[in-house]
């Protein structure tokens, strides 16, 4: 078990090459399950590989436990890693795959046997121990890969998109298996994924990365409900958060954000903040689940509203997605109850509670922090 600290960790390929990881600061607590989340090419895998010792660190400091491990080779970092491709040794049986790392570390034969049996029992691999990886299904291979990390009893587990090659049902199973093992072992785990569902369900905290930098670090729901910028706002959430440019206008003694298609009261910000924003352009955001087609559903709250032309109705069974073009090139998506009485190419009004509105700086995209939403956080 260990604390992992990244201090301005950077990766640059060659002295003039691209910077793929840019001064990442991250403190991962003992026993924490940290998810590195981001789109492909955001540097999350490179960051993980630097922690693993598979990629050289260009600059910055990496500590595992209480020692700096920049120059420590992968094998001496006391970590174990689970790969997306499983990376099982194809010429060895499952048992040998599990024992391979232990043999190198000169464990007694009896101890190796015990650990392999334990891991096999926990993961349901006992009947498969003599098989070669080629004779296993994808899910079984992933469990062997997980077992190979577990038998080592390392300080830190690293996962590099371990579920990407599994089909949807197995993915859910293996996800809960990993969560279960995290609870059982209490080890520090660092998990790379581009799948926000995995990030939301597994992580103690999420570190969202974008273009080699940390965009936001926080507990899953905090990141979801208080995104630091428009990138995080759109990356977390499916469908992504709806955004539109609007001007802040003073009306009587309050402020509203207004554009040709959107108008909403701004209730979560202090008069002082709003005063600074008055007559400026901002980006406002509303999550798809906060949009309603029926004003009455809001129970008389001060409401915002958006008007647009329907371009698609996507019934998903339990709910229906309604795509609306509010300005040319700007589409909003509403997540509505099953039955939506709207036809394509029809003008429609959607309503949202004023406290569901997010405001971002129109230039930088950074969130303008307001009072927390009372309806979701108590």
């Amino acid at each position: 078990m260990a604390v992992v600290t990244l201090d301005k960790l950077s990766k640059q390929y060659g002295p003039t090459g691209p910077v793929v990881v840019d001064k990442v600061d991250l403190h991962i607590g003992d026993g924490e399950f940290m998810v590195l989340l981001g789109p492909s090419g955001c540097g999350k895998s490179t960051t993980l590989r630097m922690i693993a010792g598979l990629e050289e660190i260009s600059s910055g400091k990496l500590s595992i436990g209480d020692r700096v491990v920049n120059q420590v080779p992968a094998k001496d970092r006391d970590i174990a890693m689970v790969f997306q491709s499983y990376a099982l040794y194809p010429h060895m049986s499952v048992a040998d795959n599990l024992a391979f790392g232990l043999r190198r570390r000169n464990f007694a034969a009896a101890e190796i046997e015990r650990r392999v049996q334990d891991a096999a029992n926990i993961l349901g691999l006992t009947p498969l121990l003599t098989r070669k990886p080629s004779a296993l299904s994808g899910g079984q291979r992933q469990r062997v890969a997980l077992g190979r990390a577990m038998v080592r009893e390392p300080m830190v587990f690293l996962f590099d998109e371990p579920l990407s090659n599994l089909d949807a049902a197995l993915r859910v199973n293996t996800r809960s298996e990993i969560i279960k093992q995290h609870k059982r072992l209490g080890s520090t785990m660092i998990y790379v994924t581009h799948d926000q569902v995995e990030a939301m369900t597994m992580g103690t905290r999420i570190c969202v990365m974008n273009a080699g930098r940390v965009a936001q670090i926080g507990a899953p729901l905090d990141v979801y409900w208080e995104p630091a910028d428009t990138f995080v706002a759109r990356f977390l959430g499916s469908p992504p958060m709806n955004l539109a440019t609007a001007a802040v206008v003073a009306v009587d003694d309050s402020h509203v954000a207004r554009s040709p298609s959107v108008e909403t009261a701004l209730t979560r910000w202090s008069p002082q903040v709003l005063g600074n924003l008055a007559d400026q352009k901002v980006t406002i955001g509303v999550r798809a689940e906060d949009l309603h087609i029926n004003k009455a559903a809001l129970g008389g709250e001060p409401a915002g509203h958006v008007r647009g032309r329907t371009i698609a109705v996507e019934p998903l069974g339990a709910e229906t997605l309604l795509l609306v073009e509010i300005e040319s090139g700007v589409e909003w998506t509403a997540r509505l109850p099953r039955h939506v009485p709207v036809a394509i190419d029809e003008t429609v009004d959607l309503y949202f509670p004023a406290n569901a509105v997010f405001v971002f700086d129109a230039m930088t995209g950074r969130a303008i922090i307001g009072e927390k939403r009372r309806d979701i956080r108590q």
């Binding site: 693993a52 080779p73 094998k75 890693m81 990376a87 040794y89 010429h91 391979f100 790392g101 190979r148």
Partner: protein
């Protein structure tokens, strides 16, 4: 194109199978026929062969093998060939595999340059290098020595070996190496415990090819060895062909003796050879 033909499928299945069997049968007779003829000649005397070239042996003169082995110097030739070829194949396999692994796996300046130079040597016909190799061996006192011939054989077979193995090794996923690194293994151990076992089918392929090629090699052996005691098998067999008289029966016997190791090596490695040629799926 192939898909179009398959779609039409004009022939009943048994008929196309039969045609395939016929072609294979004819091809087998075509290739195996001369070998069988040689085998029959190896147990007939030259006089019998002169009388009727294609006759089935009336008496099996097995003693011809003894005569070739004991009375002429076949045992020596066989031993010389074994030393040179086994030595050269062993070195080529190990060196070639190591070089192929390095070229396939490590990024270093000049990687592709080394690879290009090595591979470009394949295009030259061996006659071109013969004279310069002769001179080099003379300069280093390696002319007319088994060691010299072994070194030449190593250099002859190394490029193709590296080429074949590099292609195979490059397809081994990087994740396996990363996993082994994290499991605590160093570069040399990864080579021995991961690359060699996984690359075994490809290594077996090059091993058989190199063995057959070198076991039958004549040109360099006849030029670089003059001492009769140091002759290899192909050169030794040639010695039965005098200027005026050719002992066909003995030559056939000698060839049969020399073929045996090739067959043994092939049987031993052929399963892996076939896997090596059909491989590609490392998962």
């Amino acid at each position: 194109m192939a898909a179009m033909l398959a779609e039409r499928a004009p022939l009943p299945r048994f008929f196309s199978r039969g045609a395939l069997a016929l072609v294979l049968g004819l091809y087998t007779i075509y290739t195996l026929g001369p070998f069988l003829w040689l085998a029959t000649m190896s147990v007939r005397t030259t006089a019998e062969i002169s009388a009727d070239h294609y006759a089935w042996p009336k008496v099996f003169h097995w003693e011809q093998f003894r005569i070739a082995w004991v009375d002429s110097d076949f045992a020596t030739y066989f031993w010389n060939s074994t030393i040179v070829v086994v030595g050269a194949v062993a070195v080529v396999t190990l060196l070639g595999a190591a070089a192929a692994h390095a070229l396939a796996r490590y990024r270093f300046r000049g990687n592709r340059l080394v690879y290009g130079i090595l591979f470009s040597s394949i295009i030259f016909p061996p006659q071109i290098t013969l004279i310069s190799l002769y001179q080099i061996l003379v300069d280093y006192n390696l002319y007319n020595s088994l060691l010299g011939l072994t070194l030449v054989y190593v250099s002859l077979q190394l490029p193709l070996t590296v080429y074949l193995l590099e292609g195979f090794f490059a397809r081994i996923p990087q994740d396996l190496f990363d996993a082994a690194k994290i499991d605590g293994y160093g570069d040399l151990e990864i080579f021995r415990r991961i690359v060699l076992p996984i690359g075994m089918p490809a290594i077996a392929t090059t091993l058989i090819l190199n063995f057959i090629q070198l076991w039958n090699e004549f040109l360099f052996a006849v030029v670089l060895i003059t001492d009769p005691d140091k002759r290899t098998l192909p050169v030794g067999i040639r010695a039965f062909m005098g200027d005026h008289f050719q002992d066909i029966g003995m030559i056939a016997t000698g060839v049969m003796i020399s073929v045996i190791p090739v067959i043994i090596v092939y049987i031993f490695f052929s399963e892996k050879l076939i896997r090596g040629m059909t491989a590609g799926a490392i998962k």
